[in-house]
Structures are given as C-alpha cells and as structure tokens.
C-alpha cells in the first residue's frame, strides 16, 4: 500500500486515474479508516487530499459559498457567514459524530460515503447544493443528489474527486433546517431525518421550497411534491398535514433494529413538519 499527499488537484486526479489496484481518497478518514480496519476495503493507494491547495478553504464568492472538500465540519461550524446563511446545513454537518469526529469529518466525505443515513446530505440536497468534480477529462458541476446512487455507491468515475461543495448566496427571507431522530441524544446514526429549505415573499408566503429525507430510502430522497405543497402557503395546519402525508408516502424505508418501516414513515412526516416550521421561522415568517 502507498500513501500520497499531492499538492495539486491535477496530481491527485492523475494518480487516481493511473492507479492499477483499488485506490481510495482520504479526507477526514472517519469512514475510510473504519472500513479499512474492518477489512471491507484494502486500498493499494491512499490519496490524502488535505494538502491540495484551496481544498481546506471556505470562500465566499459572488454566487455564494465554496466549501473545500478538506474542510472539517468543526471548521465549517465556526464559520459565521455560512452559519448565518445556511444554518440548516451547518447544524446537520455538526451533528456528525463527536467533537473528535468533527475535527476530521467533511461534508464531502459524508456525501461520498453514500450512506442513506448521512446527516449532512438531506440538508445539502434541500439547499440545492452542488458538487464541483475534478476528473481526468476536466471539471464538471453537478447537483449533490446525483452523487450517491445507492448505499456505499456513487456516480463518480475512476479518477474523479469532489473538489468543493457550492452553496448559493441567500436572498432575503430565506431559511433552512435539518432534524434527525435518534434514540440517544448524540453520537448515533439517524433512524430517519428531514431537511427543509424555504424562501418567502415579502408577505411571508412560501415562494420556493425543497424537502429532502434521509434514511428513508437507499439514497437521500428529494421529495419534490412536498416542496410544491408548501409553495404559496404560510405553513397553516392543513399544509403541514399534507406535507407529512406526502413525506410519509414518499419513504421507501427498511425494517431494521433501529426502526420499523411504519415508524420511519410516520417520523419522516413529523420531522419534515418540524423542520419546515424551523426553516419558516428562520426565514422571518410568522
């Protein structure tokens, strides 16, 4: 096995592209090293991306924010500007693991590990975040929801690395929120979760809405119908009931020791309602 720490994205892509055996990208390692120790993967090449220039930075651009793929969630949580613009994304990212895990884990790693229960992913999908992918044939920018294709699987091709996650600049009257259900109060895997992102018009009616559910299907679910039902409303009782019904109906969950299908369906609806209420309040709605 070889460990390398390239300084440029071109070198990293080049090394991955020409790797003969299994190769792995190392960001915070909080999934990768656990899987290596468990014997689930035996990479011949580990490409540590943390020294690549620009990857450890959060930059504010004319269009919004660019969060480098090597930014640990603890650092993201300390960034006041991102926290103010996208509190739901940041709270989701900060739910990952313990303080120790926060010091290492990244939202890009969370996305690329492709667990259906990944905490930051529903919030990123609700936020319409994009991923900048660098690969042997150049760069492309894709919607985050197109990255995971199933548990542990992504749409990334050999040699491709996500360089950064992009979040849009926020208009006035915008808010997002993320909630998960876990039986403990911390350090646990989401049984089911919901992310909601809203913008309001000047009168406080919802103008745009995106709702995403986690741990409710093999990949994160963007529930477009749930977003549509919110548009035009001020989150009255009837709308909230319809939202819950749509979310419960959209779930394709599994039965396991952490939750039954019935429980997950029910709680997905409840969390979507509660996250919507928080996002609405954050957007300035009353």
């Amino acid at each position: 096995m070889r460990y390398i720490r390239p300084l440029s994205i071109e070198d990293a892509v080049g090394e991955l592209a020409k790797a003969v055996g299994p190769a792995a990208i190392l960001a915070g390692g909080s999934d990768l090293l656990v899987r290596m120790k468990g014997g689930f993967i035996e990479p011949e090449l580990i490409v540590d991306i943390k020294a690549i220039s620009g990857l450890a930075d959060i930059t504010e651009t004319a269009d919004g924010f660019r969060i480098g793929a090597a930014v640990p969630c603890a650092v993201l949580g300390e960034n006041k500007a991102v926290r103010k613009a996208w509190p739901g994304v940041v709270e989701a990212a900060n739910l990952i693991g313990s303080k120790q895990v926060q010091g290492r884990c990244t939202i890009t790693g969370n996305l690329c590990n492709a667990s259906p229960a990944a905490d930051s992913v529903p919030a990123l999908v609700a936020a319409a975040a994009k991923a900048v992918v660098a690969g042997p044939s150049g760069k492309r920018t894709i919607a985050v929801e197109s990255v995971p294709t199933g548990p542990g699987r992504t749409s990334l091709a050999k040699g491709e690395i996500i360089e950064a996650i992009l979040l849009d600049k926020r208009p006035e009257h915008a808010g997002d929120a993320y909630l998960r259900f876990i039986p403990r109060t911390e350090m646990d895997i989401a049984v089911v979760s919901a992310g909601v992102n809203l913008t309001l018009d000047d009168k406080g009616a919802i103008k745009t809405a995106r709702v995403a559910l986690g741990a409710a299907a093999p990949t994160v679910l963007l529930v477009e119908e749930a977003g549509q039902v919110l548009v035009g409303s001020k989150l009255d009782e009837g709308t909230l009931e319809r939202l819950a019904k749509i979310c419960s109906g959209a779930c394709r969950p599994i039965d396991d020791k952490r939750g039954t299908i019935e429980f997950r369906r029910k709680v997905a609806g409840v969390l979507a309602q509660r996250a919507a209420a928080i996002a609405y309040k954050r957007a300035g709605g009353k």
């Binding site: 096995m1 070889r2 460990y3 720490r5 190392l26 390692g29 909080s30 090293l33 656990v34 290596m36 120790k37 468990g38 580990i46 540590d48 943390k50 640990p72 603890a74 693991g97 313990s98 303080k99 120790q100 895990v101 010091g103 290492r104 109060t185 911390e186 350090m187």
Partner: protein, 158 residues
C-alpha cells in the same frame, strides 16, 4: 510495504519516525514512540480513549494515519503536566475521584482540555455534550463532569 518517513512535532518536541502507510497515529504513538498514554478502546472512533490534539483540533488518533502527522503539531496526554506540576484538570480528576480503572482518563483529560480552551465557562450540559465522544464504563460520568467544572473555575482564576 514501503515505510513512510514522517517529521512531526509532539508535545513541542521535533520527532521523526518511519511507519507503515496504513498504521494509525495511535499505533505510532504507542508502539513506536513509547507514548502509551493514549489508549485503544475501540479503534473505530467511538470511545475517545485515543484522543489527541492535532493542530489545535481534537481527534481520535485511532482514525488518523501516522503518515498524516507530517508537519503537524500533535499534543498528547504526556505533554499535559509540566514536570511534577499537574494540569488543573489532572489535579481535579484526582480530587474528585473521577476515575476508576483509568483507561478512559487520558482521553477525557485531553478532550476536557480542548473543551475548556474553546469554552472556558461551559455549562454542565455543554460539558456533557462536549465529552460525548468519550466513553467511561466505570464512573457514571458525574464525577468527571464535576471535576471539569471545578477545573474550569480554577483555570479562570489563574
């Protein structure tokens, strides 16, 4: 497997070592450098017994590769006391009997040090939340929380 040559700083001292590419920082500390304060409770990031601080960030050394320490500053439990002078947290852990078997203690001390560096006056809830990545099978946590509260008071006065 070819070894990786690493130059790093541990508790203020320049240190060089050779390690295997898949060897964890915890294994390097314990097996190559004789720094056995950090413990392996789980090896999977769950228990915090292996906690160290790397470039000012609290991490589980069982989930860091030894090779990743190149050019970094690592702080371990061995650097916490100044000679015979215990750190206030160490002193308070003793006074409050915040340990029994002691396996979790180095990790708790490092995590508590990091917590107080970032938040010198934490509430009980903030302490419990901040130390949620450290597991203890013996004490029931209460004495640990009291010790950290008491140490925070002492450190503010200092």
């Amino acid at each position: 497997m070819a070894g990786v040559a690493v130059s790093t700083t541990i508790n203020g001292d320049a240190v060089e070592y050779l390690c295997q590419p898949d060897e964890t920082l915890l294994d390097v500390l314990r097996d190559r450098l004789g720094l056995t304060g950090a413990k392996e409770g789980c090896g999977t990031g769950d228990c915090g017994a292996c906690s160290v601080i790397v470039d000012g960030r609290l991490v589980c050394s069982c989930l860091v590769l030894g090779a990743e320490a190149e050019g970094r500053k690592v702080e371990t439990i061995e650097g916490m006391a100044h000679g015979d002078q215990l750190h206030p947290l160490q002193q308070k852990f003793l006074e409050h009997a915040a340990l029994q078997c002691g396996i979790c203690t180095p990790g708790f001390l490092i995590a508590a040090k990091d917590l107080l560096a970032k938040n010198p006056s934490p509430t009980e809830e903030e302490i419990r939340f901040g130390l949620a990545g450290n597991l203890c099978r013996c004490t029931g946590y209460d004495k640990i929380v009291r010790a950290v509260q008491d140490a925070a008071e002492v450190m503010k006065g200092a």
